[in-house]
């Protein structure tokens, strides 16, 4: 049973339920306490020791159902069917395989087991063959047919085929009955092996396929044609959220430093005057923290159309995790999108923003003017400004003077551009001229880059 549990842990790990050795030990202890008789009790006990979040509980349940499937030991239908057939045909034949059949099956334990309808033996042989064939190493769904074939080979299918061929060659159709029966049994075996491999695939490979997809998505160019595939959209939103949450966790950790302090001798002595010099009221040093704030300005115009949706998703997630975030979006004009982000779900919010000002002609000068006229008071020496945009201003006045003012007023200006740096001076791009007034100006083409940069930003430019 210990071996089965180990296999089960592996299956769990494959579907992204992390099982550490300590947890594996706990689970084994739990299994020993509750025993294996009551399936529900066994499942709940393992679940409590192994699954550590509600997501993991759901995945645990799925894996448990597949792994300890009730019908795993279902007898293969074919041998019994072929027996019935032979009985109806021959009528006089006895229930067990005839002496002649067994003699023909000599040298092939599998053929014997099949002929005898020995389910347990077949099951056992399949398990051990699977171990030899390395079925549980399966990673991709395309490996399934090859592994099925290998599994059958390991079980000794060739022997059966040889016996069938021999039987067919017997003169006078003597062996036809046996050959037919074995043929049917072989088909049954094939189906069983296929189902077995499919089950192993579900257990061990499902998780890695998702990981692969996520990884590919993280590296995908955001401003590529068509942007993110709608199929991947949900996954992308989840990925962005995960990143934002991770960043927020790091970021809040830094804010807590303020609470730790050493004894503040001066203050304690001052207070002690009230108690006749006895330092009764102990004071501790408190490090003052500036409350950081972030102003994010996001371009949603035509030229960044593909990336806009994603940038907004990120803005949305950031808004959820950072307390003081002022979010703006612009293409021709600039508006504050704080309320929209606060009041709606992510998809609806993005739709609304795009509906209101999306996909128009970009005018960076105009947008900067709007910003400095209406919102310049939001900037002070504690504010970090993050601009998400391509810096293509359609040959309009870029209003560098306003950019300089923003630069001077705020603590840091960070510009993230979905285009690679080599494009920054080409065509109507004024990115190079803006870059002078940015503390950081970087290309940010993929999710992965974005995460790294934002992490950097929070580390070095957000005051703490």
């Amino acid at each position: 049973m210990q071996h089965t549990l180990e296999q089960f842990f592996r299956a769990l790990r494959a579907s992204d339920v992390r099982v550490s050795p300590a947890e594996a030990i706990d689970a084994s202890r739990a299994a020993a306490v509750v025993g294996y008789a009551d399936r529900d009790l066994f499942r709940d006990a393992l679940c409590a020791t192994l699954a550590k979040s509600s997501d993991e509980v759901a995945r645990f349940d799925a894996v448990f159902e597949t792994f300890f499937a009730r019908d795993a030991a279902r007898p293969p239908a074919s041998p019994s069917r072929s027996e019935e057939e032979s009985q109806s045909e021959g009528g006089a034949q006895d229930e067990g395989p005839s002496e002649a059949d067994m003699a023909a099956a000599e040298g092939s334990p599998l053929a014997q087991a099949v002929l005898q309808g020995d389910v347990a033996a077949i099951q056992q042989s399949m398990e051990s063959a699977a171990a030899r064939a390395g079925v549980s190493e399966i990673r991709l769904s395309t490996q399934r047919s090859r592994l099925t074939r290998r599994l059958l080979e390991e079980m000794g299918l060739e022997e059966i085929e040889r016996i069938i061929a021999n039987a067919r060659r017997l003169p006078g159709g003597e062996g036809e009955g046996l050959a037919d029966r074995l043929e049917a049994a072989r088909r049954g075996l094939f189906e069983q092996a296929q189902a077995y491999v499919a089950r192993q695939h579900d257990l061990y490979a499902a998780g890695s396929a998702r990981e692969l997809r996520e990884e590919r998505l993280a590296r995908k160019q955001l401003n590529a044609d068509g942007g993110v595939d709608p199929v991947d959209y949900e996954l992308m939103a989840a990925l962005v959220k995960k990143m934002a949450k991770r960043l927020a966790a790091k970021y809040s950790r830094r804010r807590h430093v303020a609470h730790k302090g050493h004894l503040d001798v001066r203050k304690t002595l001052r207070r002690s005057l009230a108690y006749g010099g006895v330092p009764f009221d102990i004071q501790f040093k408190v490090k003052k923290v500036d409350k950081p704030s972030i102003v994010a300005i996001c371009d949603v115009s035509k030229s960044v159309a593909a990336a806009a949706q994603f940038l907004l998703t990120f803005l949305y997630s950031l808004n959820e995790v950072v307390d003081r975030l002022e979010a703006f979006a612009f293409s021709g004009r600039l508006i504050s999108v704080n309320d929209i982000l606060d009041d709606h779900g992510v998809e609806q919010a993005i739709f609304k923003v795009l509906q209101e000002i999306g996909f128009q002609q970009t005018d960076y000068g105009r947008a900067l003017q709007d910003f400095s006229e209406q919102h310049l008071d939001k900037l002070d020496r504690r504010t970090t400004v993050i601009v998400l945009g391509d810096g293509r201003s359609n040959f309009a006045d870029p209003r560098l003077d306003l950019m300089k003012e923003i630069h001077d007023r705020s603590r840091a200006v960070i510009w993230l551009n979905p285009e690679p740096e080599s494009y920054w001076a080409q065509g109507d791009s004024v990115m190079y001229r803006y870059a002078r007034f940015c503390h950081v100006a970087k290309q940010c083409g993929t999710l992965e880059q974005l995460e790294r940069i934002i992490d950097d930003v929070l580390r070095s430019y957000v005051p703490h």
């Binding site: 739990a30 306490v33 509750v34 709940d44 409590a48 949450k245 807590h256 609470h259």
Partner: protein, 317 residues
């Protein structure tokens, strides 16, 4: 809600004997537990591991700890976590005031003691002998964690909303949770004679560290199904009519399928049932529902969204 006498006796004898006994026992103190909850609790007691309870607000996480304490007849020690909570508030603190006061009062006495010392060194030696007096048990102010470890007959320790505490504090909890001991630099290691039964609750404000999760059993309490919720309401609100229970649970269940900022959880259902009983209602009328909607919905937008649909929701079933 009256368990048969033999079962009650069995539960009273050893509620931790089996999962069924535990469900029975929790029921007798007014907590209707699902099998999964009871199994997790059973494992926690058997493996002597802390149990991390997650779930949205109001599904009965804290209540589970309170009921377990009541069932086992153990004292409950509760520690509410919040941002900035540290060892001095969770574990122990020296009674600085008392220490200072004592040194002041004993100053003269010390002077006398030291007066006949022949030289400085002898006086120092004597002082060394006295110094530790002020860092001893009488000056120790035990906080919840230490209190729990010093309960010799065991206790139920509830660490509420652990996700609200800092990561540093979480790390500090690890020693307490895995070995049931703490180190106090001045006194040495304090180890619990009987490990307490520890509940940690979390609302998922932030993700807890893996190290902490690994040391705990995990229990996620979902919003209950209708049948379970009806039993909970019936047990929590004595004297409520079965028909009303069925109606209001059905209504709340249908609310949960809708897109709300805050779905009503069990505690809201129970509050609502209490309110309706106080209003002598025997069935749900649209007018009554509209008037009492603020008991189950906690956001203005939610109330505004649901109010026009009340009649429809009531007829849907």
């Amino acid at each position: 809600m009256t368990p048969s006498p033999t079962a009650a006796n069995a539960a009273a004898a050893d509620p931790l004997g089996s999962v069924d006994a535990l469900i029975e026992g929790l029921g007798s103190v007014g907590y209707i537990a699902s099998r999964r909850i009871a199994t997790a609790l059973f494992m926690a007691a058997k493996l002597q591991k802390p149990i991390l309870v997650e779930g949205s607000a109001g599904v009965g996480k804290t209540e589970l700890a309170l009921s377990t304490a009541a069932l086992l007849g153990l004292p409950l020690i509760r520690m509410q976590c919040y941002e900035g909570l540290d060892e001095s508030k969770a574990l122990y603190e020296w009674k600085y005031g008392k220490q200072l006061l004592y040194t002041q009062i004993l100053k003269d006495r010390m002077g006398e003691q030291l007066a006949d010392a022949p030289d400085m060194e002898a006086a120092m030696d004597r002082l060394h002998g006295m110094g530790d007096l002020f860092f001893s048990e009488p000056f120790l102010e035990p906080r919840p964690l230490m209190k729990a470890l010093r309960e010799d007959d065991g206790c139920v320790l509830l660490i509420d909303e652990v996700d609200k505490s800092d990561e540093a504090f979480e790390a500090f909890l690890l020693e307490v949770l895995s070995a049931y001991q703490v180190s106090v630099p001045e006194l040495g290691v304090l180890k619990a004679k009987t490990p307490p039964l520890v509940f940690l609750t979390s609302n998922n404000v932030r993700d807890l560290g893996d190290a902490l999760k690994r040391r705990c059993l995990h229990l996620h309490i979902p919003l209950p199904e209708a049948a379970l919720e009806e039993r909970i309401v019936a047990s929590r609100v004595p004297g409520i009519e079965a028909k009303l229970t069925r109606e209001l649970v059905g209504f709340v269940q249908s609310l949960r399928t809708m897109d709300l900022r805050k779905s009503p959880s069990i505690s809201e259902t129970v509050d609502w049932a209490r309110a309706l009983v106080l209003l002598h209602a025997d069935s749900l009328q649209p007018e009554l529902v509209r008037e009492t909607l603020n008991v189950i919905l906690k956001f203005e937008q939610d109330i505004a969204a649901i109010e026009p649909q009340v009649v429809e929701l009531l007829h849907r079933r």
